[in-house]
């Protein structure tokens, strides 16, 4: 029974996603709607992403230094931290934070709009809610995610630099030159591809759950929880698949 329900839900989500993507032209015709959503998803998630990036980078600095010291190659700290942040931690941790910060906000906002008849009211005014409310939020998420992941990586490198160079005494020249020598364009591209895919998946999940939520307080609460759970699993699963393909 649960399996059929699950399969049906995946089917509903797929159809919904196609319908939502088919209405995407609105973000080109009315860029203002898109910019509002990039601000909502992106700018408002900036503080949490920057703080997390800084701390993750500092932890990487400590752990990386301790590990590399055992092999006598602490000068590779920059490379290790940069590869970890660009390819994995940047996109993945940002996506998990994004699901908790922006995904829940999207779902509960749309769910409450449904609960207070605002979506039906739009439909009654001949305004398609999927086009007006759904599509800009999806594309806001698709665009904001890679930007946030980049900010995360930059702050992470800063954190690692503070710990590795200023605290542990790794040579600053070595830290940067090794990094520049070893990090290739494809590492950066891998991070960008992942974060765009995560942004797309998170947007599709959060908007779907919002539109599908029961128009009651419990319904909106459950939909918001589902957004976090489904998004987190989706991020980790997509991460594995993309890594397997790109490596």
């Amino acid at each position: 029974m649960n399996i059929t329900l699950g399969i049906r839900r995946v089917g509903q989500w797929s159809l919904f996603s196609v319908a939502l993507l088919a209405r995407s032209a609105v973000v080109l015709k009315r860029p203002r709607l898109l910019i509002e959503q990039i601000y909502n998803c992106g700018a408002r998630s900036l503080i949490i992403v920057m703080l997390s990036g800084l701390f993750v980078g500092m932890v990487l600095g400590l752990q990386g230094y301790d590990l590399l010291r055992r092999f006598g190659s602490t000068e590779s700290l920059g490379t290790a931290v940069a590869l970890g942040l660009l390819r994995e931690l940047g996109p993945v941790v940002t996506a998990l934070l994004f699901a908790g910060r922006a995904g829940t906000a999207l779902t509960s906002e749309i769910g409450l709009m449904a609960a207070t008849d605002q979506l039906v009211a739009m439909d009654m005014m001949a305004v398609d809610p999927l086009r007006r409310v759904g599509a800009p939020r999806l594309w806001g998420s698709v665009i904001a995610m890679p930007l946030l992941a980049a900010v995360f990586a930059v702050l992470g490198l800063t954190g690692a630099h503070v710990i590795g160079v200023s605290l542990m005494g790794v040579d600053a020249g070595q830290f940067w030159s090794q990094m520049r020598a070893s990090v290739e364009l494809k590492d950066v591209v891998e991070g960008i591809v992942k974060s765009i895919l995560f942004g797309t998946a998170l947007g599709l999940i959060a908007v779907f759950e919002g539109f599908q939520s029961e128009p009651t307080p419990e319904g909106v609460g459950q939909a918001t929880t589902r957004t976090v759970v489904v998004s987190s699993i989706a991020v980790l699963a997509i991460d594995y698949l993309v890594t397997a393909v790109l490596l």
Binding site: V120, A121, M124, M125, A126, V127
Partner: protein
């Protein structure tokens, strides 16, 4: 039949429970038409059928000469632009202020220059007496004010038909008087057709030109409010007098009490 809205032999059921059975109703243009009936008789469902949010299981719904079931989404949207729908709570967009709520349909559908838009919005707000509230947020409005803003938002598209879902529920006497007068004056001055769904007998007596009372999934009686008050039909008498005794039972359908207790414990 020559109604602007016509329901022909409509059956509609929700999860096996029949809401309408062979419902036939014709709504004449340029009048205030009231749809009344006890709670749960499907008054709001009727509005959903008229606006094409749902379709009947059997039968047809015609609005302005068009069969709703045969319309594409685009054609349905074109028709909805001629219909204003007022929700019980107003259903204003909570992230926009009053001005932007009223401007919303214009910004979505018409490409007016900003000056013409501002003039149109403020003039429409003036008509409902709320020009001074233009920069308030929906959360700062009382129930009556929210409904007047919703009316302004519906009027700005110059509809032919206005549908009101329980416009009097939860209003204080002053707000009630204002809303009653607005419905009447809007109907007469703009020559539109109003459909008011309500169970407030006294307000409808004062307001409506024509009343249809729903019961048991059909139109139980219809006519002018004066004609209905003279009716000897026991159901109409019970409804208009608000008596708990009559054909409409106080009790929701249930098995005898002792049997119910046993069944409940057994489950």
């Amino acid at each position: 039949m020559s109604g602007i809205i016509e329901l022909r032999g409509v059956d509609y059921s929700v999860r096996g429970h029949a809401v309408f059975q062979n419902l036939t109703l014709s709504i004449a243009p340029h009048q205030v038409n009231a749809i009344m009936g006890p709670s749960g008789t499907g008054k709001t469902t009727l509005l959903k059928l008229i606006t094409g949010q749902i379709h009947p299981d059997r039968g047809e719904v015609w609005v302005n000469g068009q069969n709703l079931r045969s319309l594409s989404l685009k054609a349905l949207y074109a028709l909805r632009l001629k219909m204003g729908y007022l929700f019980q709570n107003g259903a204003l967009l909570t992230d926009l202020n009053v001005f932007e709520n009223v401007a919303f349909p214009l910004r979505e559908h018409e490409h007016l220059d900003e000056r013409a838009l501002v003039r149109s919005v403020l003039t429409t707000l003036e008509a409902v007496g709320l020009r001074g509230a233009a920069d308030l947020k929906p959360s700062e409005l009382s129930g009556g004010m929210a409904r007047r803003v919703a009316l302004a938002r519906a009027l700005i598209c110059k509809p032919m038909i206005l549908l009101y879902d329980e416009p009097f529920a939860g209003l204080d006497p002053i707000a009630l008087g204002v809303v009653l007068r607005l419905i009447r004056s809007t109907n007469d001055e703009l020559k539109i057709t109003s459909v008011v769904v309500s169970h407030d007998v006294h307000e409808i007596e004062k307001l409506a030109d024509h009343v249809a009372i729903l019961a048991d999934g059909q139109v139980a009686a219809q006519g002018t409010p004066q004609a209905l008050t003279q009716s000897q039909n026991p159901l109409i008498k019970q409804f208009l007098s608000g008596s708990p005794d009559g054909p409409v039972s106080f009790h929701y359908q249930a098995p005898p009490l002792e049997q119910h207790i046993q069944d409940w414990m057994a489950s």
